[in-house]
């Protein structure tokens, strides 16, 4: 049995030993670091197509080992990308490279300007696609706050048999088609719970879907100069349209939509139309689901204005933190990632599209022709899907997605205010309230407009967003 004195003496010895170990710690760490030479820590999302991560992790490590760099890749779920960035900025430590799948603009102050990297890549491969540029460059502060290696098109996914049964074998081509189809689908496929599965909830897919509706009706949150112009007759028309669509083709399920709901509902044949990238389709292929033969795609729908636009489904935005001690290595890594655009697209089963089309060009193509060459290679993959689509050209529309794809912040550039409006679901809530009748379209618009103006005003005070003189 130990006396209290013995207990304290032993405890004191343990504490002293611990303190000595802690004091020795840094020198041990330095020796370890010296042995590893250089390190690079990358935070990456868990890709919606898991095959991509199986390629990315060894590729990154291999890239590092050839240069004497120990590369560590950590994956987080897409919903944790922003909270993790917030925590790392607050702690001023963490990863060197952080990947965003939406807008990284709110973190502009804490990231390295990647203008030199973008310029080098442009010299090598030609210009990036416009929506990637507009998502990673702040035209007001003139800072290249992120670098995009890939973006993801967001086509419509439709159930061929159901749409054939209602007399539209090629699926819908306008937003009005969805309203016409809603009641018809209910008759032709009464077993389907949600004829039109467009989310109106607080999730990433809904956020994009409602922007598509807004833009195609001629509305937008900001104009090209950063003025808040949400309060418009066009937005009101978009909200009235959402109300009509909800009443004939949707139910409350779309108010609780999450990032997996599109996939689950379509693959279970509980809906006849969703807005989604090809990840749901790849899941159906991998699992040989009954829906597969009827799984087809349409381009973005046209609104009454004739505008045909869809938000990108994902836009990668890699940032290098200012607190990183491996900034140069990080920049080299990003260049290498763009260099590997072909492998990236194939590893993601054609989910990722290169932000620099030129990086997918045939080797030895002159710089001026690289973009076209890359586009031709991309089209070749989509026209004869190497991952077993039937028919082989099922994904061919994706290679023509660029003209109808745009960035968050359209018709302007992405900026922190647009990012905050996106992340706090101001626009989805406006649509959901108007569609369900929880508020009149006019009141829902007024509420959202007030919040948007508040958010823009706040970021303007920080000199990170332009406009203001023509706010509505």
């Amino acid at each position: 049995m130990h006396s209290r004195r013995q207990f304290i003496v032993k405890g004191a010895k343990l504490v002293a030993a611990g303190a000595a170990a802690a004091a020795a710690g840094p020198s041990v760490f330095v020796r370890g670091a010296a042995a590893a030479d250089k390190t690079l820590k990358v935070l990456q999302w868990a890709h919606f197509v898991p095959a991509y991560d199986k390629w990315f992790d060894p590729w990154a490590k291999d890239w590092g080992s050839k240069r004497g760099v120990e590369v560590t890749v950590d994956h987080v779920g897409f919903a944790d990308v922003v909270p993790r960035a917030t925590a790392e900025v607050a702690a001023q430590s963490g990863h060197d490279v952080h990947m965003f799948i939406g807008l990284a603009s709110a973190f502009e102050e804490h990231v390295v300007d990647l203008k030199d990297v973008a310029a080098n890549l442009e010299k090598k491969y030609g210009k990036p696609v416009e929506l990637a540029h507009r998502s990673t460059y702040n035209a007001f502060t003139r800072k290249q706050f992120a670098l995009s290696d890939m973006w993801v098109p967001d086509p419509g996914n439709f159930h061929k048999k159901v749409w054939t049964d209602i007399g539209m074998p090629s699926g819908p081509s306008t937003y009005e088609d969805l309203v016409k189809a809603g009641p018809e689908i209910r008759k032709a496929a009464p077993q389907m719970q949600i004829p039109i599965g467009i989310g109106l909830s607080q999730d990433i897919d809904s956020n994009m879907a409602v922007r598509n509706i807004l833009w195609c009706h001629g509305g937008s949150i900001q104009d090209k100069d950063g003025n808040v112009v949400l309060n418009s007759a066009e937005t009101l028309k978009a909200l009235e349209y959402a109300k009509r669509l909800y009443s004939v083709g949707m139910n409350q399920a779309v108010l609780s939509w999450n990032a997996a709901s599109n996939n689950q509902a379509f693959n279970a044949q509980e809906t006849a139309y969703i807005l989604n990238s090809i990840s749901a389709y790849r899941t159906a292929q991998d699992n040989k689901l009954p829906v597969l033969d009827n799984y087809f795609f349409t381009p973005a729908l046209k609104g009454p204005t004739g505008i045909q636009l869809a938000s990108e489904h994902v836009m990668s935005g890699y940032v290098v933190w200012k607190f990183s001690k491996s900034q140069d290595i990080a920049k080299e890594f990003l260049v290498a990632l763009v260099d590997a655009s072909r492998e990236s697209m194939l590893a993601s089963k054609l989910y990722n599209f290169p932000s620099f089309y030129g990086a997918a060009a045939e080797p030895n193509t002159p710089t001026a022709k690289r973009t076209d060459s890359g586009a031709a290679w991309i089209a070749k993959q989509c026209n004869a899907d190497p991952f077993g689509s039937h028919p082989g050209d099922k994904l061919s529309l994706l290679s023509k997605a660029l003209p109808w794809s745009t960035n968050l912040g359209y018709p302007g550039f992405a900026n922190p205010a647009e990012g905050e409006i996106f992340d706090t679901y101001v626009i989805t809530d406006m649509f959901a309230k108007a569609a369900t009748g929880a508020m009149s379209p006019k009141d829902a618009l007024a509420e959202a407009n007030t919040r948007c103006k508040e958010i823009f005003a706040k970021w303007r005070k920080k000199n990170m967003v332009a406009g203001g003189s023509k706010d509505r």
């Binding site: 900025v89 399920a253 609780s256 706090t424």
Partner: protein, 311 residues
Amino acid sequence: MSSTEIALARPAAAAVETLSRRDRRLGKILLAPALAYIFVLVAIPFLLAVLLSLTNSSAGSLEFSFVGLQNFRSVLSSAVFLRALRNTFVFTLVSQGLVIVMGNILARALMKPFRGKLLVRFLILLPWAAPISLATLGWLWIFDSTFSVINWMLKVVGWLGPGEWYYWLGDPVLGMVAIIIVHVWRMLPFSTVILLAGLTSIPKEVHEAADIDGAGALAKAFQITLPMMLPILTVAVLFGVVFTFTDMSVVYLLTRGGPFNSTHVLASLAFQDGVLGGDVGRGASVAIFLVPLLVVMAVVMLRLSRRAEVV
């Protein structure tokens, strides 16, 4: 006392004094880690939150300037905040009411001997041990608007007719019902264990004496069991109320505050505004809004329980 006795008593008194001083020193040493823990992980973050609520701090920046009470004024004029405030009270009061009533019933049942009691105790404790994120994923499927197993069962038994369906997470009222159900499921084991401990600590003799005096079941419940359990009941309620007031996990994992921000509680709204939206100042003002109320509540309840302590 003789001079010899005084001489002998002096060293003894000195020894007692030294021991007492040592005890005090030891007490301070043993308390220090706990105090340091509270100071570093509770006091500093709390003071920081108060400070941030008075600033225009944003997630992507370490610089901020003071804006006074502007954040509080802004949130008070927001319909979403007022709804979240109301939801916080509904969520806390309804779920805690259910937890205390059901915990009592379960605790009383568990005091009786029956076959398989150990297994039942294990099953009751299981929700407390399960990670909330994992458990809520299970509940997410149970309440899924398209694939809800509850709805399928209700269809099978004929409760729901053709075309009828409960959109648990897509309806503001059903969304709150779902959140409360999951929270009650989660909190019930803790409450049951606490109440069971309270019930078993009441000496049998007191009940036997009451029986001899001819007290009925109701009289025993209200004049013996309840007063004797009041201290432990207060602790259970206080813990449950504070925990529920400040918890966001069930709301965030189940509805993310939707549909259209109608099921937010203050904690989840603070996370959405402060962390996801990047408006740290606004998020902090939402998060600390109820602190004064919680402090008053804690003081009142602790005083109540101290007064009710059985000596």
